[in-house]
Symmetry: C2
Subunit: 211 residues, 2 copies
DNA sequence: TAGATTGTTAATCGATTAACAATC
DNA sequence: TAGATTGTTAATCGATTAACAATC
């Protein structure tokens, strides 16, 4: 449990700060003021300072923020200094796409196995990572540190699979299935990626713009 | 331009209402009150009524909401009664995964072509949809109605590609590249799906829960 | 020291919730 | 008609922005 609760609105912005600071770092920029950053990111300087000060004072009056230091600190806040092992449940197109997305590894996210019910996928490997049959799931989780389960399966099975994952000790679910998982366990965190919802939002804005 | 601006917070919730109403419809439920829906969706009844009344009075006092009617009206609000043709720029794993996701078609989203620079993909088809070489893009857009371009390419090329798409008349971009597209054109709408950001948010919540 | 810029408090703005009159 | 439930106004809550004293 956290001591003082930080709103998810703030958390949602942190990866974006991290991204911009990473680019500044690559560009060799040493320090930056909240004002300069605010111009680049199109948010207010006030918001940047408020957001950061939820986690501590990372800046220095009269100087601004040291880019490298702030980048690293935000990385720690986001847990990117830890290794997070991921299993992907559903080795279809999306599951394989995620597995091929090597960039996640730079942030400490490592996909260590895929699972599927389709016997045709038995023995197949994606980027050297093996697809297991779903009945091996419990064994695998018992013998490996699994931090996150990504659900990239049809929505019909997603909820029951999620419940099962929780029952065998998984505490974090990255859900791509188009359902709200019904898990009432405070210790389990769920992050949804609802692509259809995203597309519908885009569609709304398209139609609105036509008017 | 819209007459009265409706906040994106409201828009973000509409697809979720649509989903729940679709399920109620499939389950044969004829009418529902904001209160019953609020229990199922875990939001306040007040919010449901406020949200819906941004778009008009879809309910009836003493009765509630007709499920089929409300479902269809929200569909119209989201533009799902229109056909939206999509092209996918970047025919890698993610582009192909999106193309294989047939469910989008149920909502009027139709992928009509993929584009890539990789000559190895020339002539390849995904679910019967052809992968074109990127140099055919302008021609294709001139001869076909293209409503949305999905960017599933590496981030290095995303911004310049987006600018080019806008210059040839594309007004909506579904961006999967890990950059903020720099487009200052009011008539162009961008919807971002930043998977790394989503994963980092999950990671934050994992680490927070450990404490 | 003077100038710059943070950290933080106070003011504003917007979104959510509560309450209730209108009405089916 | 009586009961139920919306549509909508008013109250509350939280998030964003502005302001400025602290301080490097």
């Amino acid at each position: 449990m956290a001591q003082k609760e930080i709103s998810q609105a703030v958390i949602r912005r942190m990866p974006r700060y991290y991204r911009y600071l990473g680019e500044l770092l690559d560009a060799g920029v040493e320090r930056i003021s909240s004002n300069d950053l605010s111009n680049q990111m199109q948010v207010t300087a006030s918001q940047i300072r408020q957001d950061l000060n939820n986690f501590g004072g990372f800046g220095q009056q009269g100087y601004g923020y040291n880019v490298k230091y702030l980048y690293e600190e935000i990385g720690k806040i986001l847990g990117l200094d830890q290794v997070h092992n991921i299993i992907v449940i559903g080795a279809g197109n999306l599951g394989q796409a995620l597995t091929n997305y090597v960039k996640f590894e730079r942030f400490g996210f490592k996909i260590i196995a895929l699972f599927d019910v389709n016997p045709a996928l038995e023995g197949v490997s994606v980027r050297g990572i093996k697809v297991h049959m779903l009945d091996e799931l419990d064994d695998f989780c018992a013998n490996n540190k699994v931090d996150i389960a990504a659900l990239t399966m049809p929505k019909a099975k997603a909820d029951i699979t999620a419940k099962h994952l929780v029952s065998i000790g998984i505490h974090a679910i990255w859900n791509f299935a188009h359902v709200d998982l019904d898990i009432d366990n405070e210790d389990v965190v769920v992050e949804n990626v609802h692509l259809s919802d995203s597309l519908m939002q885009l569609s709304y804005n398209i139609e609105k713009n036509k008017k």
